[in-house]
């Protein structure tokens, strides 16, 4: 894409009321727009990152055999009353409104209840199980405080998955497989080294066991205690022994096991092989997609701006043409890269080199290719790695080979 066509502009300062590092950088670089405290919109660059994150997650969900759906945001009061989670005393993050006829409606902060209810139309026999479904859905939560940028929002995109199983063993088997799939997601988006599986209590979601995936991050609201570095295991505060050293962390994913409790409350039963009625085992699995984006920005950025891992970068190459004289060569390099299906943001704007360098650093695209006047004679490109700062002179053929490799 030609940067002259990209409508977003970078800015030197974030809005005064934005105190989080992730949102400040993302706003300055033109990836997101702040609507209100805890509410952000996603601009073209930010939306591209979200799409990349969704692709990584979707690939891992497909390997698990999960089927994609989309549940509604508007939710039925009656269903949540059956599990005693409608009352604001029980769940304190509801947004609620009323229909024209005066009856109340809720806005989805989670989807166990509506998905369990929906499954009653499709599950009747043990032969239907196990089933896994997931969605990328916009959650709305009426949080008291929202000061962590896109790490804790009042509106955010979550990938939530649900497993319906006949037995505790089947449920546990999927629970374990998903733990591995989630770790693979965090590895692929560049957070593998600093993300831990953490045993935790279930909070509002469950009275049974649960796990979190916690990424070490100064801006995190949680504290974890690493118990096994090689196996990436940790525990939360309640479960820590006194000698361990706590680290701040962000909960990037979680797993809850509801056992059969929720199915009994909702009336989700199947007939087993002996003709007996059995409540279905339910577990739920979440990755905060926008939160994950914010966490990547928090932990991988440097003094000059964002540093995107290649897998989720909005573009692979940021191509900079430094003057009017280099435009023809830069145009040719751009066309060459694009014709090889390499995603390029081409800074063809009429701006000083220094401004282009500063914008490129701020925006964090992994490979920067600079076309200065000496490139016209040398036939080589100045290629800089955003993460390491390493600069090399490469031919266009070499660069393409490396990027496609």
């Amino acid at each position: 894409m030609r940067q002259s066509k990209l409508f977003t502009k970078t800015r030197k300062e974030a809005p005064r009321d934005e105190i989080s590092k992730n949102a400040s950088l993302l706003i300055r670089a033109g990836f997101i727009h702040k609507e209100m405290a805890g509410v952000y919109s996603y601009l073209p660059l930010g939306w591209r990152v979200i799409q990349k994150l969704k692709t990584v997650i979707e690939e891992e969900m497909a390997k698990l055999g999960s089927q994609e759906i989309l549940m509604s945001t508007l939710q039925n009061k009656e269903i949540w009353e059956r599990t005693n989670r409608w009352d604001d005393e029980e769940v304190d993050v509801w947004f609620k409104s009323t229909f024209k006829n005066g009856s109340e409606v809720g806005f989805g902060w989670s989807h166990e209840e509506p998905i369990g209810e929906m499954m009653k139309s499709h599950i009747s026999s043990y032969q239907n199980l196990p089933i896994q479904v997931h969605q990328f859905q916009n959650k709305l939560r009426n949080e008291v405080r929202a000061k962590s940028g896109i790490i804790r929002c009042r509106e955010f995109i979550m990938k939530d998955m649900y497993c319906f199983a006949l037995t505790a063993e089947d449920n546990l088997e999927f629970y374990n497989k998903t733990t591995e799939a989630y770790l693979e997601v965090f590895r692929r988006v560049g957070l593998g080294d600093i993300t831990y599986v953490t045993s935790a209590s279930g909070g509002v979601f469950t009275d049974k066991f649960s796990h979190e995936f916690q990424t070490i991050c100064e801006a995190g609201e949680d504290t974890i205690y690493i118990t096994d570095e090689s196996k990436k295991k940790a525990v939360n505060e309640e479960m820590a022994d006194k000698k361990s050293e706590g680290k701040k962390a962000v909960e990037v994913g979680n797993i809850f096991n509801f056992g059969t409790k929720k199915s009994e409350e909702l009336g989700l039963y199947v007939t087993d092989g002996d003709g007996e009625k059995k409540p279905v085992f339910l577990s739920s699995y979440g990755i905060g997609v926008t939160r994950l984006m914010g966490t990547v920005v928090e932990v991988l950025s440097d003094d000059n701006g964002i540093v995107w891992p290649r897998k989720i970068a909005p573009f692979q190459v940021h191509l900079l043409s430094l003057s009017e004289k280099t435009r023809n060569l830069a145009d040719a390099v751009y066309e060459n890269l694009v014709s090889n299906d390499i995603e390029v943001l081409y800074d063809d704007r009429d701006l000083r080199a220094g401004e282009k360098f500063a914008d490129a650093d701020l925006m964090g695209i992994p490979t920067r290719v600079v076309i200065g006047e000496k490139a016209i004679a040398s036939k080589t490109l100045e290629v800089k790695d955003r993460a390491s700062g390493e600069t090399r002179e490469l031919t266009i053929e070499h660069l393409i080979k490396e990027l496609m490799g």
Copy 2:
């Protein structure tokens, strides 16, 4: 995909409270789930149709040079007050709620105001214009009545696009280009012959001119009067002369021109070539994605069920294995089709042939391939076209060639 793994089941009857044909068929075929009146969730088959529709629309938006974003559902009261559209007396479809601090928040029923406000951070000079942005976004509207299935919902997916231009001429040029792009969308999804560009008044959106795209459909809530069949032009009731014959139609898309009024209210100005401050011309463009899906079902279904146009079908081929003896051959055909990147739903369930035929008709996948016992000897496949009912005997090679052609 193997149908034995698909969690949704077809059903003989729709819920008793569902009076619309589109939702009845989609629920019976397992494409959608009814949450409440006017609120539906999208199950794997339905979600695949939505993805196909989004792909068609996105391709046409990309040709227009529009950039994709995602705006928030939670909306700022103050922005809407500036254009006098917060008050329920002015806009009667708001869902509203309150934050914990007692201040009000709205849920997005449209996005002109927030997008105009956001643009103030990115537009300052005439050189930044024109800009087009679009999103696929979940709109929430507190409708009094919702009896048309997914054609009029309280929650629905819309592709909304916005054009920001320096002059009335630039604005009109994009307006005209988009009209063509929209007609191309409707052609590609199978509604070209019965969709008309209709001149209409602007309603709540604008006091200037506007157009609608209306698809002839008995279940439609509007009436249009065709004025030029060959150019696919029509007018609405207000503008019709008395001799024309009215036809029921569904509004599948619309275009509004706000002129500079909204920019003046929001404070969206640019500096022109002479250094003068000018308000930006704004127009907005919508296609109801889920409504479009409902309209396709309404107008293209027959007595046996849904008939999907190939471009938006959840799968291209519905492969039916009729008995245990044909399973090996059917497995081989399935693998062959899938290895050629053809999307196949493979009915490998242990059910009677009649049930499989009925389900295939109901679900509406364009090409049905039946593997009966005679196929084992004949080496040919019974291939039936869902729309025409035409049946042919084809070799697998012939079938693949046709589907890939």
